[in-house]
């Protein structure tokens, strides 16, 4: 595992809201995270792009919790990750900071450089999608995430 692989940014859509005051409460809530550098909110589409401070450990669960604290949920969550060395998708996991990403598709595909992963675990997709997926039947430890590339 390369140690200088890092999460460069995440991009998510919040659900359950249609007002700018609600969107602002998510915005303000995210700002309290110490590893967050910059937040770009698209008020019209309820999407947020979050970039992170160099060398910081990005805690995906804390991002999710901040959205929920503001009173809303995440409907779609993607992260851009820079991989400094070749990694294999499939059974292979990517370790990044204290998080472990389990890639559920793209077996035997070699990954390098910037990749975009979509999170599939509870709270990172709509509850409808989560219930319909096979992820809901497998157990996930804290800090472990199922992702699709």
């Amino acid at each position: 595992m390369a140690s200088d692989s890092q999460v460069t940014r995440v991009f998510f859509q919040a659900s359950g809201l249609t007002c700018s005051m609600c969107s602002n409460s998510i915005n303000k809530s995210l700002r309290t995270l110490d590893f967050v550098d910059k937040i770009t909110a698209d008020v019209r589409n309820y999407t947020f792009e979050v970039s992170f401070k160099d060398g910081s450990n990005v805690d995906f669960d804390r991002i999710k919790k901040k959205v929920e604290d503001a009173g809303f949920s995440i409907g779609d969550f993607k992260a851009t990750i820079y991989l400094s060395s070749n990694q294999l998708a499939g059974d292979q996991t990517i370790k990044i900071g204290t998080s472990t990403l389990l890639i559920v598709n793209g077996k035997d595909q070699t990954l390098h450089g910037d990749i975009i992963v979509r999170f599939l675990d509870k709270g990172f997709v709509s509850s409808k999608e989560y219930k319909a997926s096979s992820i809901s039947k497998s157990s996930t430890e804290a800090g472990n995430y199922h992702v699709r590339i």
């Binding site: 859509q13 659900s15 359950g16 809201l17 249609t18 007002c19 700018s20 005051m21 969107s23 602002n24 409460s25 915005n27 303000k28 809530s29 700002r31 309290t32 909110a41 008020v43 019209r44 309820y46 929920e68 604290d69 503001a70 009173g71 809303f72 949920s73 409907g75 709509s126 509850s127 409808k128």
Partner: protein, 274 residues
Amino acid sequence: MKLQLLTIYLLLSLSTWSQELFAVTEPASNRPAGSIGFRVDNSVMDELGTYTINYHLIPEIMLGLSKKLMVSGNVFFSNRSDVLKIEGGSIYAKYRFLSNDMLQKHLRMAVFGRISYNNSDVHQEEIAMYGHNTGVEVGVVATQLLRKVAVSSSVSYVKATDNGNNNKFLYGLDNSKALNYTFSIGKLMLPKEYKNYRQTNVNLMLEFLSQMNMGSGNYYVDIAPTVQMIFNSQSRVDVGYRKELHSTLLRTAPNGVFVRLEYTLFNAFKPLSR
């Protein structure tokens, strides 16, 4: 009644966006966790059969304790005894137990309760925990945001006891309990398209408020249209008018104008984790 149904139909069919920050009722959605809200309610009510104006001033502090639980406390002032003086206060709590979020829509449900104290004289059969009676209120509220419109409805039970200062509840034990029903609908008028947090939002609300006394069976139905402005996605001004449509209950001053000012301080304290 036909006119009301028509108004609801028009609001439902015209709207493109919506808001649920209703002026008279509370939605099932909660305040952001860790936020403090400051609110000042002013109402100027016309006392029936007199030239007297009743002014009620209610400052309130609201805390988002967690994503599901909020509490608030307020103080009641009024000039019903000729000078503006403090008459009591209440504590309110709301717990959101259902939240089904989808893109640009949600269904939420919450239970709420209020404990009120008031030391003014009891002067009407209507039971009001927001500035008139001592007692309790418990209820349930459901709010549906349907991309284009927010609709909210609540049912609550109120029980009045004697007011403070030896002011008895005058209408008998049997008539000290009532059911409140509310139906609210809200629509965003401006901006046509969201671009940033500094745009002023203008919302129109229409609320129907009703109470039925469980003893006498007497009831009222009020309508309350409100114009609401939200500035900088942080502060809010509501200007509304409450009007009695029909009543068989004895009420002192059902009609009047209200102005609510509100400011939210985000991330003011560390919220509870659940």
